[in-house]
Point group: C2
Chain length 420, copies 2
Amino acid sequence: MAKPNAFYAQSGGVTAVINASACGVIEAAREHRDRIGHVYAGRNGILGALHEDLIDTNRETATTIAGLRNTPGGAFGSARFKLKGLDENRAEYERLIEVFKAHNISYFFYNGGGDSADTCYKVSQLSRKMGFPVHAIHVPKTVDNDLPITDNCPGFGSVAKYIATSTREAALDVESMAETSTKVFILEVMGRHAGWIAAAAGLAGADRSEAPHLILFPEVPFNKRDFLKRVRQCVKDHGYCVVVVSEGARYRDGRFLADAGTTDAFGHKQLGGTAPIIAAMVRDELGFKFHYAIADYLQRAARHLASAVDVEQAYAVGRAAVELALAGENSVMVTIDRKSDKPYRWTVGSAPLSRIANREKMMPKRFITKDGYGITTACRRYLEPLIGGEDYPPFKRGLPAYIRLKGVPVAKKLKAFRPG
Amino acid sequence: MAKPNAFYAQSGGVTAVINASACGVIEAAREHRDRIGHVYAGRNGILGALHEDLIDTNRETATTIAGLRNTPGGAFGSARFKLKGLDENRAEYERLIEVFKAHNISYFFYNGGGDSADTCYKVSQLSRKMGFPVHAIHVPKTVDNDLPITDNCPGFGSVAKYIATSTREAALDVESMAETSTKVFILEVMGRHAGWIAAAAGLAGADRSEAPHLILFPEVPFNKRDFLKRVRQCVKDHGYCVVVVSEGARYRDGRFLADAGTTDAFGHKQLGGTAPIIAAMVRDELGFKFHYAIADYLQRAARHLASAVDVEQAYAVGRAAVELALAGENSVMVTIDRKSDKPYRWTVGSAPLSRIANREKMMPKRFITKDGYGITTACRRYLEPLIGGEDYPPFKRGLPAYIRLKGVPVAKKLKAFRPG
């Protein structure tokens, strides 16, 4: 019988280092050619499996695969596509197993966040029931840092480093111009549910006397009056004020600031953006000159400023997934286990998917200062190691030289999938 | 008689490398301690001279001054403050000369864009008339790259590198998600009058089949219908579309897109932002899922990704200013003169301020493709050397270690200035 093959797919929003995990999976598999034949990747994530649209990574050179470690985005294509529950749409799961069977795939490496952990778990359960057991290993990835059990999530450290650096840099700009120009600068960062990324901005200053002066977390209900009072005081004390706001900042009743019901002249709901809402308050109530930036995808794609720790961990969890699978493990997620803060030491571990799926890790209360606008020493102790070290990509003619795959498709063996 | 002193000030919007010019000025002056006593810097630019608020840079260590080369923002404080015309407010100019006289300042190094070149010129003229001739040398700086005669302006190359890199990175993100998520990504960049920064984004792709697919320049009147047609076609051809829009993009009648008259629910004019205007068009007319980023100050403060060529030039024009002054030059701006494109070779020169002041250098027509949405080969040839090489700042605990001055004030000798 032919050697079993492996399947790898990327899921959900991509990161600066998700390809480093792909690199880890593929390089580790190549070291075990006696036990793993091909690593097939799903084109556009799990959709690639459903539609039998597979990329044969064995057709990529070692140089290309090594280059994945330095390349942001999802090289194989990712997807925002959540499989329905088993009862609701069993056909999709059965199709996955069918594709795995047709291509002799015994290892399923799924690289994503909470939703994909759930999918991974179900595939593992169902494949056994269907008599074609697949080793399903979840490779964690999310800029939101909200997976349980693991100390942190690959992808987060690099966004954290980018946001902390950008905050420090922009603050120097604002400070130098404040006498005659912008007095309030607002930076909007990602994090719809959890304030981890906003918290990372807090590393930019040694303490609250330095920028960012105010952080608006999704975890802390927004109080307009109190906020504006603090902005005014900050400008009085320091001459300027730097505010970092999470896109998920919300009022006490749960409404997002970004959904505050403002509409444009045509009656259209105003387009996203929490920063412009804050900026409008500062303008209308305090009269300060302001500027705002919305980092959006720039923050999660900024491989040029990746955290070396993050790159190493992303790569390590990819490798570990293969090693766990070959050791007979199944239905687990690779975890990062912190051994000490200073010096920072960590190892790779694993946790059963049954304990991961559909659970979000929020910022603990003890990480946010009592006033609700800053991060505590405990939070700094947690965050600081995650942005440690630089891991610059190679540059060519002034720009980062990111790789592009050949992406050779695997010949199809099944009929087209018609979802029910 | 005591050795003459020098005065240095930063003017207008700061850049990632304006402090490198300060470093050049101060280090060169320190090499000529026999001829230049103190280098005094104006706190908050020219305001520091008007209010006799001077910082004694001689009180800063060599390490701190060397650190200026790696630190973004304006370390001495900059100002958006244009002196009025000589006829309108002669008192301001006379006050400058009075302060220079009181502190035995014979050298005036002014680091800024077009407006400050004009001030520098007037100071030079008037000081001679007033019998206290000052050597006034303009040190060019502007992210807008719009000063005449000089081949390029220090500050621009680093923004160009940041925007081209960020475009390339975000494009990889969008491409990998386009099948099930964002199809159109819009990045708003600086450049109210000239499209140099928007043009730099064009370096992100090898040609128009790669992102950015469409660039909106201030120089090319915006045609909504044509633009949307191209976005639709781009998504059809590539599965996604990356648009880079200059904040100065405008309609044929000269109105900025950002001033398109949309108001929020309270009747307030919508706050700046060209990207959300474009995004709304894409949403309303094409129905594509979109995301947008507004880089704002992040782009001009991003010292972590400075162009090595830019840093070197910024430093060189600072040094050259001192050398020109000591050689007896007056009323000139330091220029960067390009000798060849490939390999890129340049030298430092100078040009009379009478030829610089109040002239803007726009993008030449031959740099924009006929369809109005891309850059030509000639433009690439011009831009590419300017983003060449990396010059990373030192990092400490995961973040760039930027210096902070002691900023020791010089004792005042005059009465407070009361502007007329």
